[in-house]
């Protein structure tokens, strides 16, 4: 523990470790000193000059982003000197800024807009014509509007220091300075460049994919976990019209810092898919799948189970399912006399490590919850394309339960010999035509739940979209079924389902939804290691 330094900021005493900057110390007491060039994940050139604060005894205003605290220092972030400086700097920013907020993607979440509204002059004094750069395609998903740029160089520093693939630079000098790429390919072929759009404080760097899709103030933000690999980056789903419009990283220094990869960022199409299972389907005597109410479908399933008895279960789940869903399925398999539990998961050939934040990588394992599946008792089958490995399940003559896996590589006669074939999924699958029961699941973006990432960290995600029709989470459907089988109350929410899981699986023992919170909680490490 570093030595603590006590100083006064705006009349409030605060103690922070030696070496902390004034800007970070001010955050501790809830004061945000406006800034552009500073970003906690990168070096600070102290060049935007917006974060200058008054330090008593100092001959001039100090840049709070690089000035470290000193004992008994007295800092004013709201004094005449500090506010006057910000007003001046903001006016300078607007000398050449086009003020095209009405057509700017950043409008509504723009730091220039916010700061000028808060502390800028009501009217700019510049009458001179503005400098014009126009628009440039930086490659990848990034468009550059040079006129809006505030020259904070965060993007340049991200590529140099964090991704460590030098693709951007400042060219020219003075107010002719502009961000540019070195070669024609620009950002093409880099894996983390979406982050420069996030860290751009204004609308200079925008996402091509999101361009003109939605205004910032129309978007709902839902905290979630990226489902695109086993890293478990903390993210936000930004939704409008019941569609995910974009995915943004959510700060969590333990997992992903401030960043996420481009693969995860743009892997949202499947969450918005329109054609979905929306009713429970039960196969009638003449082989027709008949839609039913949940109550009736579950009654028929219970009846069926009573008839066939304990004939051995083979269950296939997807590692895209939550801990709760997988836990409920495992409990069901147990209640039906036990059997085989497997999952299939696609893998990429290599990890893509973010060099400047090396604990973050796009992992080989492209599913969010393989660790959870393993801990709950599922074993991996199939190849790196998440195909094959199901010969024995396809021909099983007992109970076959499929949850989430779309069986896209399987033949139409899949499960023809099964005495009971239960298919739970969010999409109809041709290989599920023999299923006696087809139950509609909510997808990841429509339900609450938790994933266990590659490091054994359990993290919660929240529903961002309305599910179609009668689609329900796996834990909810299976929980209701188990309640009937075991004659007890069904879990009412994901938290209750998780407590059930924690009481059955040792690795999760003692953990509650409250403990996990919005930052996640790491499982008992020895247990995780011994399992994997």
């Amino acid at each position: 523990m570093a030595e603590l330094i006590t100083l006064t900021i705006d009349g409030q005493e605060v103690s922070v470790p030696r070496g902390t900057t004034i800007l970070e110390a001010a955050k501790k007491i809830g004061k945000l000193v406006p800034h552009y060039c500073y970003h906690p994940g990168m070096s600070s050139p102290a060049m935007c000059r917006l974060c200058l604060v008054e330090v008593e005894g100092a001959p001039k205003s100090m840049p709070s982003c690089v000035t470290t605290v000193m004992e008994d220092q007295v800092v004013h972030t709201d004094s005449q000197q500090a506010v006057g400086n910000r007003e001046g700097v903001l006016e300078f920013y607007l000398v050449n800024h086009p003020l095209d907020c009405p057509i700017c993607d950043m409008s509504g979440e723009c730091d220039l807009q916010d700061y000028v509204h808060a502390e800028g002059r009501a009217h700019g004094r510049s009458e001179e014509p503005k400098r014009v750069f126009g628009r440039d395609d930086f490659g990848g998903d990034v468009l550059f509007y040079g006129d809006r740029c505030v020259m904070c160089t965060r993007c340049v520093r991200f590529m140099n220091e964090v991704e460590q693939d030098q693709r951007l630079t400042v060219v020219e000098r003075g107010n002719r300075s502009v961000i540019d790429t070195f070669f024609e390919e620009g950002l093409e072929g880099t894996h983390w460049h979406g982050n420069i759009v996030d860290i751009c404080p204004v609308g200079a760097l925008v996402s091509k994919e999101f361009l003109y899709k939605a205004r910032a103030w129309d978007l709902e933000h839902t905290p979630s976990i990226c489902p695109s690999c086993s890293q478990g980056c903390n993210i936000e789903l930004h939704t409008r019209d019941n569609l995910i419009q974009r995915i943004k990283p959510r700060e969590n220094l333990e997992v992903n810092g401030w960043w996420m990869c481009d693969y995860g960022r743009h892997n949202q199409e499947w969450m918005n898919r329109g054609i979905r299972l929306s009713d429970p389907l039960v196969q009638t005597q003449d082989g027709v799948a008949e839609p039913m109410r949940w109550r009736d479908a579950l009654d028929q399933l219970l009846q069926h189970l009573g008839v066939i008895g304990k004939v051995g279960v083979k269950a296939l789940a997807t590692p895209f399912a939550s801990n709760e869903d997988l836990g409920a399925l495992a409990e069901l398999v147990g209640a039906l006399g036990g059997g085989k539990m497997v999952y299939r998961s696609a893998c990429s050939e290599e990890e893509i490590v973010l060099r400047g934040f090396p604990t973050l990588a796009r992992r080989k394992d492209l599913a969010p919850n393989t660790s959870g599946a393993e801990l709950i008792g599922f074993t991996r089958v199939g190849d790196d394309e998440a195909a094959g490995g199901l010969e024995d399940i396809a021909a099983h003559d007992g109970i076959v339960i499929i949850m989430g896996d779309e069986l896209s590589d399987q033949a139409e006669d899949f499960g023809r010999d099964a005495q009971l074939f239960l298919y739970l999924g969010d999409q109809q699958s041709p290989a599920a035509s023999n299923a006696h029961f087809v139950f509609p699941l909510t997808n990841f973006a429509e339900q609450e739940g938790s994933f266990t990432n590659i490091a054994g960290r359990v993290q919660r995600f929240s529903p961002a979209l309305e599910p179609p029709g009668m689609a329900r989470p796996g834990w909810f459907i299976l929980g209701a079924l188990l309640a009937e089988l075991n004659n007890r109350d069904a879990p009412l929410n994901a938290a209750e389902s998780f407590s059930g899981l924690a009481s059955r699986i040792e690795a999760f023992a003692g953990l509650t939804y409250q403990d996990i919170g919005d930052r996640g909680a790491v499982l008992n490490e020895t247990l995780v290691l011994s399992e994997t």
């Binding site: 050139p45 102290a46 935007c48 000059r49 917006l50 205003s61 300078f92 000398v95 001179e128």
Partner: protein, 430 residues
């Protein structure tokens, strides 16, 4: 009569051989007593060299006037990492042409000073960062360094003393901002010439992240003379706080512009009227910029009171800077001059700090508008207010350099601006 103009008032310590092309040759330099100071210095302890320079009271000739010996003493005494001496030869301040002459006529004097300085701060490598546009100077320096190596004054085991000091001449690429000490370091490292935030100061984290000292050409050129003759000897000229002699580069509306080496404390009006032969065509003195274009200008009245040393200039509201005296007579188009200077700074701003990047270009545009008769009196208030925002708010002082001529000219010569504004209004009305 020699080197363009000389004056009897001069005390020629470092400019003695200006105008003598044979002096560039190492043989001539050595014959005239060159490299004796190096020999003497290498026989002393490094700290003794620093003490001698401290005793002389020599102040940095690049503009800030920081005492050189004290600057050297900031360097670590027990080097654990390489130390570097940087010679700032990126002379680019409008109106300044003293370092060019020092390097052109007496390159070995500078090289000797560099070697002594490097020895004093325990550096084994000197970089002379020479302004890119000085093609001739770069060639002269390169040749002189080569000769110094050949004769054993530079490189390994200098004069058999076991001391190793290398010298590299680096030709800049033509950016004013690379004359700012940390901008020079960034440039030398191969990056854009962008000044860095201080602290850390160069003596702790300098070029290549190592302890470094950076001195102006003129400062280092004086050093051999101080070592040879002693610090006390140097104090026979100048004032108590500003000892020694200084090169004054005089340009503008005087009869005999040029470089003159004078004792510090020399009256400005004597420099103009006597040394430089007075104002051209018998015109009246209007304004003087005594220290290069980045210091405030003064009117004739203050110029008559001004004594040319670091303190004397501050007394009349300006600075000695690098002693580049720009003289304007009553026929000078002052607004145009100021606009021209601000154009220069706007062009040379590195573009990092917002007040400088945006403010300098904005200032230039307003001045251009006023010059063209499209200005208003409110523009003057705007200029005064916004340039105030450019003082002390940036990483380096380029921004302050924009503010100084603008603010001083508006406050002292407001009538010049108003005349243009009124003539524009009349033309508009007609």
């Amino acid at each position: 009569m020699a080197y363009p103009y000389v004056s009897n008032a001069e005390v020629r310590v470092i400019s003695q051989y200006f105008g003598d092309p044979t002096h560039r040759r190492i043989d001539t330099y050595v014959k005239r007593g060159g490299y004796k100071a190096l020999e003497k210095a290498l026989a002393l302890e490094p700290d003794a060299v620093t003490e001698e320079v401290k005793a002389s009271g020599l102040r940095g000739r690049g503009g800030a006037g920081f005492p050189t010996g004290i600057k050297w003493s900031f360097m670590p005494k027990e080097p654990t990492r390489p130390h570097y001496l940087l010679c700032n030869a990126d002379e680019s301040e409008p109106g300044t042409f003293k370092d060019r002459e020092l390097m052109r006529w007496d390159p070995h004097q500078l090289i000797e000073g560099c070697l002594i300085g490097a020895y004093a701060i325990r550096a084994q490598h000197v970089y002379i960062y020479c302004r890119g546009e000085f093609f001739e100077v770069n060639q002269i320096l390169a040749k002189a360094v080569e000769d110094a190596y050949m004769k054993g004054y530079a490189g390994e085991d200098i004069l058999g003393t076991g001391t190793t000091i290398d010298i590299t001449v680096h030709q800049g690429a033509g950016a004013y901002i690379c004359g700012e000490e940390t901008g020079l370091m960034s440039s030398l490292e191969g990056d854009r010439g962008e000044p860095r935030v201080k602290p850390p100061f160069p003596a702790a984290v300098g070029v290549f992240g190592m302890p470094s000292t950076i001195n102006n050409v003129e400062t280092l050129a004086v050093v051999p003379h101080i070592i040879l003759n002693g610090g006390e000897w140097y104090r026979q000229w100048g004032t108590e706080k500003s000892p020694g002699t200084k090169l004054f580069c005089v340009s503008g509306h005087v009869r005999k512009p040029g470089n003159y080496e004078l004792p510090l404390g020399f009256p400005l009006i004597d420099l103009i009227d006597d040394v430089c032969g007075g104002i051209r065509d018998g015109n009246q003195l209007k304004a003087v910029i005594p220290g290069g274009s980045s210091v405030p200008l003064i009117n004739a009245e203050d110029a008559r009171k001004c004594e040319l040393d670091y303190e004397g200039c501050v007394e009349v509201g300006t600075m000695l800077g690098c002693a580049s005296v720009i003289v304007m007579d009553h026929k000078a188009d002052l607004v145009k001059q100021i606009r021209r200077m601000v154009d220069f700074y706007a062009h040379e701003s590195c573009g990092q700090c917002t007040p400088c990047r945006e403010g300098s270009a904005w200032t230039a545009r307003i001045l251009r508008r006023i010059e063209e008769g499209q200005g208003t009196e409110e523009d003057l208030d705007t200029l005064m207010e916004m340039t105030e925002q450019m003082v002390g708010t940036t990483i380096c002082v380029l921004s302050d350099s924009v503010a100084a001529p603008v603010q001083s000219s508006i406050s002292k010569f407001r009538e010049d601006y108003l005349e243009l504004i009124r003539s524009g209004e009349q033309a508009g009305a007609a």
